[in-house]
């Protein structure tokens, strides 16, 4: 078989290997409290104390729950509906914010790119608001919106919105001027230019903006849930979203569950970005490699 057909399999093996090494190092580090107790490691303990760390275990990793413990804790809550409610809550907030950002951001970005007037009027305001981190909006959002649900979705919306708009404007503006010239020579109307040149010409940038925006949405939703109390009673157990799940685990002292929450978010973000990429590839078949 050729090298090209072997390459994916090899990459897969490498990936598995790197994950296994990570788990091994993590497990060893988490158990450092036990194996570092012997006299053999006295100099290491001394060094750690000298550097200002706690001498009993390795910094960071030694304080972390071991992967074996995390898996046990994960398996234990897999059957609990509150865990899955956290998933559903965060997912709905992300989707709400993200879809709103796409629905508003794409037409807004296109109009900025197409119309000099729209650009002149709206872009300065956009550029002033853009550097404000979405999380800085959390208190304002809580005041603005009647329900906490809407506040959190609004913040996630902001996270994706700027990225999508910037990508749409950049994408539409970088369309080769010769495409417009050729189209006009062949008799395109303005609407035809928009529909058959600008829209498909911007599509690859829209996909990129959506994938990046989706990543930011997950970052933002988790922090927003932590800050706002996740829309449920503080100290309550159920349904506050994954960000609240992590915070609640921390408050409750269940360190294994913190890691379960972190990995859950990682998986959620990865899966949603991959789904978007897949959809993007279907929408832009001309970018496929031969």
């Amino acid at each position: 078989m050729s090298a090209t057909s072997k390459a994916p399999a090899l990459a897969f093996v490498r990936g598995i290997f790197s994950v296994l090494v990570l788990l091994l190092v993590w497990e060893l580090g988490a158990r450092s409290k036990h194996w570092m107790a012997g006299d053999l490691f006295a100099p290491l303990r001394g060094l750690l104390a000298l550097l200002g760390f706690k001498p009993g275990y390795l910094p960071c990793l030694g304080a972390a729950p071991a992967p074996s413990g995390v898996v046990r804790s994960w398996v234990a809550i897999l059957g609990e509906s509150s865990y899955w409610q956290s998933w559903a809550k965060s997912f709905l907030r992300v989707m709400g914010g993200f879809l709103a950002a796409m629905l508003v951001g794409i037409p807004f970005g296109l109009s900025l790119a197409v119309s000099r007037v729209a650009f002149g009027v709206a872009f300065p305001v956009f550029e002033v608001l853009r550097p404000i981190p979405p999380l800085a909006w959390v208190p304002a959002a809580i005041i603005f919106w009647p329900t906490q649900e809407l506040s959190i979705s609004f913040v996630t919306f902001l996270g994706a919105f700027y990225t999508i708009v910037i990508n749409v404007v950049g994408g539409a503006r970088s369309i080769d001027v010769r495409y417009f010239q050729a189209a006009r020579s062949m008799g395109s109307s303005r609407w035809d230019l928009f529909r058959r040149i600008i829209l498909p010409g911007t599509l690859p940038s829209i996909v990129v903006g959506a994938v990046v925006g989706m990543g930011i949405t997950w970052e933002v939703v988790v922090a927003a849930e932590m800050i706002s109390g996740g829309g449920s009673q503080v100290g309550g157990t159920g349904g506050g979203g994954l960000g609240f799940f992590i915070w609640n685990s921390y408050v409750g002292g269940s360190y294994e569950q913190i890691v379960v929450g972190m990995i859950s978010i990682g998986i959620a973000g990865f899966v949603s970005s991959e789904l978007l990429r897949l959809l993007g590839r279907r929408l832009t078949p001309w970018l496929a490699r031969r």
Binding site: D176, Q181, A182, S185, M186, G187, D192, P200, G201, R290
Partner: protein
């Protein structure tokens, strides 16, 4: 035969430029690219415009196509002033301007669809053109999946389906390898001989010019104007290999080169790197002949 012909009459498509002036920048920075430029492109002929690189040929193409309006002077097609882009004047660009998001076929029928002329006759014509440019097996491929030569042929077909009065080709074969280029010359000459359409072919390649042209328009250095017109009275169809030994072809080539050399020397005096390259290329061509 007194009734007006519905389709383009074979001898239509006379492009005339009178006193064209065009430039870029303002005040101190202003640079005239075209100054007092007048010429005419004979209907039903293949005219080749040649000049030192950077002399403003592409600016002339944009003016003729109607993408830009000349700052002074008049451009007409069959007596009608040119005010903007039109299906009467189709441009084939330097590098592929096929729409990458459309298949070969969708690219091909772009013009008719834009004009809501999407009927069975259009599709029949598109199929015929696809066969003629040898791309029937690539109708559903996207442009990035085509070779350089195929892209050029697809673009020729996309322009031809609009049945323009004038085809404007701006260094269309630049960047192709030597063999593909010669095949494309052959191809282009055949298309022209079949249709008798007015063609304006812009190039910097003297061999390309002599092989293709009925007339060669030699342009001056920038700011560009018409320097000379050479009639290329070689019989058609032409065979590239025969031209190498043809005294007439070589005489035309020598005359064109002498004129171009003078122009290049002038721009060389102005310190243009492109001109320096040209002078060098010219010298090596002389000695090799």
């Amino acid at each position: 035969m007194s009734e007006p012909a519905a389709s383009t009459p074979v001898q239509a498509g006379e492009l005339v430029a009178e006193g064209l002036c065009h430039g870029y920048g303002d005040g101190e920075d202003r640079k005239d690219v075209v100054r007092d430029c007048s010429f005419s492109i004979a209907p039903g002929k293949l005219s080749v415009m040649i000049g030192p690189s950077g002399c403003g040929k592409s600016t002339l193409v944009r003016l003729l196509a109607g993408f830009e309006r000349p700052q002074r002077g008049v451009l007409t097609l069959d007596g009608v002033p040119i005010t903007g882009p039109s299906r009467d004047r189709q441009v084939v660009f330097q590098e592929s301007a096929l729409f990458p998001w459309m298949t070969t076929y969708d690219n091909l029928v772009y013009g008719p669809r834009a004009r809501q002329d999407d009927g069975p006759a259009t599709h029949a014509l598109a199929e015929t053109l696809l066969r003629r440019v040898g791309l029937q097996g690539f109708r559903d491929s996207y442009p990035p999946q085509l070779s350089g030569g195929m892209q050029r042929r697809a673009e020729l077909a996309r322009a031809l389906i609009n049945d323009p009065k004038v085809m404007i080709l701006d260094e269309p074969f630049r960047g192709l390898d030597a063999l593909t280029k010669e095949l494309m010359w052959d191809y282009c000459a055949r298309l022209f001989e079949e249709s008798g359409r007015t063609n304006l072919f812009v190039t910097t390649d003297i061999d390309e010019a002599v092989f293709l042209a009925d007339r060669i328009l030699i342009m001056s250095q920038v700011p560009t104007r018409l320097r000379a017109v050479l009639e290329v009275d070689l019989p058609r169809p032409r065979v590239l290999a025969d031209l190498v030994d043809s005294d007439r072809a070589n005489a035309i080539k020598a005359e064109a080169l002498t004129l171009l050399h003078e122009e290049a020397m002038k721009s060389f005096a102005h310190g243009s790197q492109a001109a320096a390259d040209f002078v060098e290329a010219y010298a090596s061509k002389r000695t090799s002949r």
